[in-house]
C-alpha cells in the first residue's frame, strides 16, 4: 500500500522551477533516498512533503488524505501532518534537556506524564542514549545529537521520517556508524523513511529505492542495483557509480535483451534497455555505459588505449585509459601501469540506453 503520493508537483521560486512536475509513490515501510547534486530540488521536495513549502501545482497525499493541493490552495499545516523530520543541523533546542527535546512532541499532544516518561525512555534506548536523558544537547557529540533528533521523531510515531542530509555534518568514520544506526532504526520500527542526500554511496547502502533528481526532475527511480546496472539516461549513468558513457552508433540487436556494439576495433556484447530495443532505428543517439569492474586489462583484448593516469586505491589500481575515439575509461587493474603506455582491454559487459533526455 502506498502511503505517500505526489502527483505532478511543481514548486517555483521566482522564475526558477526547483521542483518540476514530479510524481512519486512511496509504500508503507519503504526506505527511499532522494539523490542528486546540490540544487537539484531534493531538499525542496522534502520540504514540500513536510509542509514547509506550498506546491504551486499538483497534489500531495498522505495515507489517502490530500495534505497539499496546488490548485485549490488547500494546505494541512506541518504541525498537523504527523511527519518526523531530522535536519542536517540536528535542530535540537539548546534550552531543553535531551529528555525534554525527545518528549516535546508528546508534550504538545498533552500526553500524561507517566506515559510520556515511559515513551521517552523507550525512544532513547532504541538510539542507545538511555543514560543521557538529563544532559543538555550542547554536551553531546555530533553523532549523539543526531540520534537524539532521531529519537524525537520516533517518539511521536510518525507516518514517515524525513531526513535532510542528516550525516553531512559528521566525519567519515561517524557516518558509517550512523548509517548502521539509521538502518537498525528502520528495521526495528518499520517506519517509512525518506532520506535526502547528495552522497550516492550513502543512498546505495541504505535505501530500498533511490530517486535520482536533476534540475527539478526525477530522472530515475529504482532499486540501487538497477540504478547502477541499468541507468535510464546520461545523467543517472554519470552521477551514479564510477564509469564512463560512450556515444555509440551501430548496434546489432540480439534476442536475449542484449546487443552487439562496435567500439573501435572491438565488438562488445552489452545489455540493452527494452525501450530502446523496441524502437531502434528511430533513435540514433545511443550511449554505452561501461563500469570499471566489467573492463579488464588483457593482452588479447581488442580495445586499444593509452594510459593517462594511474592511482593506487589499496589492493588495486584505477587507470584512466584514453581510447582512440578520444573518450576516457576508468579501468581497475592489479598491476601498476606507466603513464603513456599503450594497453589493450577486453570488455565483459555493458549497458546501452538512449542519450536523448526525456523532458
Amino acid at each position: 500500500m502506498a502511503v505517500i503520493n505526489l502527483r505532478n508537483i511543481t514548486k517555483q521560486f521566482g522564475d526558477y522551477r526547483a521542483v518540476n512536475n514530479v510524481s512519486l509513490d512511496i509504500a508503507d515501510g519503504e526506505f527511499v533516498a532522494l539523490l542528486g547534486p546540490s540544487g537539484c530540488g531534493k531538499t525542496t521536495l522534502l520540504r514540500l512533503l513536510a509542509g514547509f513549502e506550498e506546491p504551486d501545482e499538483g497534489t500531495i497525499s498522505l495515507a489517502g488524505q490530500v495534505v497539499a493541493d496546488g490548485v485549490s490552495r488547500q494546505m494541512v499545516a506541518p504541525e498537523d501532518r504527523n511527519l518526523g523530520i531530522v535536519f542536517q543541523s540536528y535542530a535540537l533546542w539548546p534550552h531543553m534537556s535531551v529528555a525534554r527535546n525527545v518528549g516535546y512532541p508528546l508534550e504538545v499532544r498533552k500526553m500524561l506524564r507517566a506515559e510520556r516518561d515511559r515513551r521517552i525512555r523507550e525512544a532513547l534506548s532504541i538510539v542507545s542514549l538511555e543514560n543521557y536523558a538529563d544532559r543538555s544537547p550542547s554536551e553531546l557529540s555530533g553523532g549523539q545529537r543526531q540520534r537524539v533528533a532521531l529519537a524525537r521523531c520516533l517518539v511521536m510515531e510518525p507516518r514517515a521520517v524525513l531526513l535532510d542530509e542528516p550525516l553531512a555534518n559528521l566525519d567519515v568514520h561517524l557516518r558509517e556508524t550512523m548509517q548502521e544506526a539509521f538502518l537498525d532504526f528502520h528495521r526495528r520500527t518499520g517506519a517509512t523513511m525518506i532520506y535526502v542526500t547528495h552522497d550516492q554511496a550513502e543512498a546505495m547502502a541504505m535505501a530500498d529505492r533511490i530517486a535520482v533528481m536533476d534540475r527539478g526532475h526525477i530522472r530515475q527511480m529504482a532499486a540501487p542495483e538497477t540504478l547502477y546496472r541499468e541507468p535510464s539516461d546520461q545523467m543517472v549513468a554519470g552521477f551514479v557509480g564510477a564509469g564512463a558513457v560512450l556515444p555509440v552508433g551501430d548496434i546489432t540487436l540480439q534476442n536475449n535483451g542484449r546487443c552487439a556494439v562496435r567500439l573501435g576495433d572491438a565488438d562488445i556484447s552489452a545489455r540493452i534497455c527494452a525501450r530502446v530495443a523496441s524502437q531502434t532505428g528511430a533513435n540514433d543517439a545511443l550511449g554505452l555505459c561501461l563500469r570499471p569492474e566489467d573492463i579488464r586489462v588483457d593482452g588479447h583484448g581488442t580495445l586499444a588505449g593509452k594510459v593517462e593516469d594511474c592511482v593506487y586505491l589499496g589492493g588495486r589500481f584505477r587507470l584512466a585509459v584514453r581510447l582512440a575515439n578520444g573518450h576516457a575509461l576508468p579501468v581497475y587493474s592489479d598491476l601498476r601501469a606507466r603513464i603513456g603506455e599503450n594497453i589493450s582491454l577486453s570488455v565483459r559487459d555493458g549497458w546501452v540506453f538512449s542519450r536523448q533526455e526525456a523532458a
Partner: protein, 575 residues
C-alpha cells in the same frame, strides 16, 4: 455552497490553520505605523497648511527671517567641527584598539563608551563645572580663572568640543566593527609586497576601512546636529543659538502659537539630517570593498617600545574627557553652598539629601523618569518580539518597508519628533482628547523614538537562530503560539532583556524629546537637570547628575558582566 466550502478550506478544521494566523500578522504593523509615520505626516501638514488651506506662509516667514539662517549656520558649524573632533578621537581609538597590541583593551573600550551613555546635558554640566571661574574643582586646587572672566565653553568652539567628545564613541563603534572584519591576510599581503609604515596605513588600511569611517562620520554629524542638551546648556547662556535651541526658545516664549513656524524649522533640521544620510549612502555606494579572507583573526600590529607611550596617551585622553569632568561634577555636588570653596573639611552631602528626600520636584522627576523608562522598555519588548519574528521570518515588501519606517523617529533629531508628537496629540481627532501636558505624550514619543533600540537586538537574535529549530517544533505538532512560547521566546529572551535594558538606559536620561513635551508635574530627570542649572542651582543639578551617572555606570557594568550570556551584537560597545 461553494463559498461555504472555500470558507471551510481556509479557516475550518485543520486545513490552513497556519495560513490563517499568517493573515493576522500584518495587524502588528498598525501600532508601528501609528507611532512612527503619523507624527511625521502631521508635522509636514502643520508647516504647509495655514488654517486648513495649503500655504507657504510659514515657510516664507521662516525663510525670510535672518534668525533662521544664523541658527542654521551655527548648527552646521558646530555639528561639522564637532564631527571632525569625533572622527579624530574616535578614529584614533578605533585603529589603535582594533589593530595593535595595546593592553587592557576591554577596560579601555568600556571607559571610552561611557561618554556616549551619559546624557549630553550632564556632560555639558560637568564641563561647565570644570572650566568656569566658579569651578569647585579648580577652586579647591586654587587654579580657577579670575571671577568675572567669561566661561570659555559658552561659545561655538565649546559646543563643538563637547559634541565631538560626546559622539566620538559613535565613530569608534562603526569603525571598529569595520576593522574587525579586516582580514589579517590583506595587510600581510601588502607588507610582503613591500608596503611599510605610512604607506601601509594610507594605501591599504585606510581605504579598506573607509566604509566604516564614512558611516561613522555621517552618524556623528546627524547626531550632533540634533543634540539638544549640549547646544542648550552652553549655547543659551552664551547666546549662541542653533536650530534646536531656536525651536525651544520659540516654543517656550510663544507656546502653541509658534507651532506653524516651529514645524517648518523642524523640517529644516530634518532636511539637513536627511541630506547627511543621503550623502553617506552616495559615498558608500561608490565603493564595494568587500573584505575577503578569514575573518576573526584580528591584526596585532606590534608597537614595540612605543606601546607604553601610546597606552599612557590613550588613558590620559580618557582621564581628560571622562574622569576630570566627572570629578568636577562630583566636586560641585559636594559644595556646601554655591560659591563656597570646597575643601576636605567642609564637603557636604546635603545636596544629595535634598534631591532624594526633600525637594518634591526632584523626587517627582525620578519617579516620572523611572515610570517612563521602565514602561517604555516593557511595552517595546512586548511589541518587538512578534514584530521581529514577522520581519525576519516572513519577509515581504511590507515588512521591508516597516523595517525602514521604524528607523525614522530615531534617525531624525529628537526635536523634530517632539514637535510632531505635540501636533498629533494636542488634540486627537476622533477621540477628542489631548495628551499634551500629560506624561502620556512623552511616553508615546519614547515608544516611537526607542522602538528601534529594542527591535534590533531581538531581530539579530532571530536572524542568528537556525530556522530548523522552529521547523522541528512544527513537525512535532506545535502551532505558532506554542512555538513562540516554547522555542522562540526562551531563545530570544537574553536579546529581549538586553534590548529592554538599552531602552531603559537611554530613556532614563533622555532630554531632547522631553524638553519640549514636559509640563509642570511631568518633569523628567533630563528636564530637571536642565531646569535646575538654568535657574542657577548648579549644586542640586550636579547632585542629580552624579546619581544619574551612577545608575548608568552600574547598568553598563551589569551588561559587561552578563555579556557572555547575550547574543552577539546586543551590547553596543561589543559589536
Amino acid at each position: 455552497m461553494q463559498a461555504v466550502e472555500r470558507w471551510l478550506a481556509t479557516s475550518g478544521g485543520n486545513m490552513g490553520g497556519n495560513r490563517f494566523s499568517d493573515r493576522l500578522l500584518p495587524l502588528l504593523f498598525v501600532p508601528v505605523i501609528f507611532i512612527s509615520v503619523l507624527p511625521m505626516l502631521r508635522l509636514a501638514a502643520e508647516g504647509l497648511f495655514v488654517q486648513g488651506m495649503p500655504s507657504l506662509d510659514y515657510v516664507r516667514d521662516v525663510m525670510e527671517s535672518s534668525q533662521t539662517w544664523r541658527a542654521t549656520a551655527h548648527s552646521l558649524y558646530t555639528a561639522a567641527l564637532g564631527t571632525v573632533i569625533s572622527v579624530l578621537i574616535g578614529g584614533a581609538f578605533a585603529f589603535l584598539v582594533a589593530l595593535t597590541d595595546i593592553r587592557a583593551k576591554a577596560a579601555l573600550v568600556f571607559c571610552f563608551m561611557i561618554p556616549m551613555m551619559i546624557p549630553p546635558q550632564i556632560t555639558a554640566l560637568a564641563w561647565v563645572q570644570l572650566t568656569g571661574p566658579s569651578s569647585a574643582l579648580l577652586n579647591a586646587i586654587g587654579m580657577a580663572p579670575a571671577l568675572g572672566s567669561p566661561q570659555p565653553l559658552y561659545s561655538a568652539e565649546g559646543i563643538a568640543l563637547l559634541l565631538g567628545i560626546q559622539h566620538a564613541s559613535i565613530v569608534f563603534l562603526t569603525l571598529r566593527a569595520n576593522l574587525r572584519l579586516l582580514p589579517r591576510e590583506q595587510v600581510e599581503a601588502a607588507r610582503l609586497a613591500g608596503a611599510r609604515g605610512g604607506r601601509l596605513w594610507w594605501q591599504v588600511i585606510l581605504p579598506l576601512t573607509s566604509p566604516g569611517l564614512i558611516a561613522g562620520t555621517a552618524m556623528a554629524f546627524v547626531t550632533a546636529l540634533g543634540n539638544f542638551g549640549i547646544q542648550a546648556m552652553l549655547g543659551i547662556p552664551g547666546n549662541y543659538i542653533t536650530l534646536p535651541t531656536l525651536i525651544y526658545r520659540k516654543l517656550s516664549s510663544f507656546g502653541p502659537a509658534a507651532l506653524g513656524e516651529v514645524s517648518v524649522l523642524a523640517m529644516l533640521i530634518g532636511v539637513i539630517a536627511v541630506i547627511g544620510v543621503l550623502l553617506h549612502h552616495h559615498l558608500l555606494g561608490k565603493r564595494d570593498y568587500r573584505l575577503m579572507g578569514v575573518v576573526g583573526r584580528p591584526l596585532d600590529i606590534r608597537l614595540g617600545a612605543r606601546r607604553i607611550v601610546i597606552e599612557i596617551l590613550l588613558w590620559a585622553v580618557l582621564v581628560a574627557i571622562l574622569v576630570v569632568p566627572l570629578m568636577a561634577l562630583v566636586a560641585t555636588s559636594l559644595v556646601p553652598a554655591f560659591g563656597v570653596r570646597l575643601g576636605f573639611d567642609n564637603f557636604s552631602f546635603d545636596a544629595f539629601y535634598q534631591v532624594l528626600f526633600v525637594q518634591p520636584a526632584t523626587i517627582r522627576a525620578f519617579h516620572n523618569s523611572l515610570l517612563l523608562s521602565v514602561g517604555a522598555a516593557i511595552v517595546l519588548v512586548g511589541m518587538c518580539l512578534p514584530l521581529a519574528y514577522v520581519i525576519v521570518r516572513r519577509p515581504s515588501r511590507l515588512t521591508k518597508l516597516v523595517n525602514l519606517l521604524v528607523e525614522i523617529p530615531y534617525a531624525l533629531p529628537g526635536v523634530v519628533l517632539a514637535i510632531a508628537c505635540i501636533l498629533l496629540f494636542i488634540r486627537i481627532p476622533v477621540l477628542d482628547i489631548s495628551l499634551y501636558g500629560t506624561l502620556a505624550i512623552i511616553f508615546v514619543a519614547y515608544l516611537a523614538r526607542f522602538l528601534i533600540i529594542a527591535l534590533r537586538p531581538v531581530m539579530n537574535s532571530f536572524m542568528q537562530l537556525d530556522p530548523a529549530l522552529e521547523e522541528a517544533a512544527q513537525a512535532c505538532g506545535a502551532g505558532i503560539g506554542r512555538r513562540l512560547r516554547d522555542i522562540l521566546l526562551p531563545l530570544a529572551a537574553p536579546a529581549a532583556a538586553a534590548g529592554a535594558l538599552l531602552v531603559f538606559l537611554t530613556a532614563f536620561n533622555e532630554l531632547t524629546v522631553s524638553a519640549l513635551l514636559w509640563s509642570a508635574g511631568n518633569e523628567t530627570l533630563g528636564v530637571l537637570i536642565f531646569n535646575l542649572d538654568d535657574s542657577g542651582d548648579s549644586v542640586l543639578a550636579s547632585a542629580v547628575a552624579v546619581l544619574v551617572v551612577g545608575v548608568v555606570v552600574a547598568l553598563m557594568t551589569g551588561f559587561q558582566l552578563a555579556s557572555r550570556h547575550l547574543p552577539k551584537g546586543v551590547i553596543p560597545w561589543q559589536s
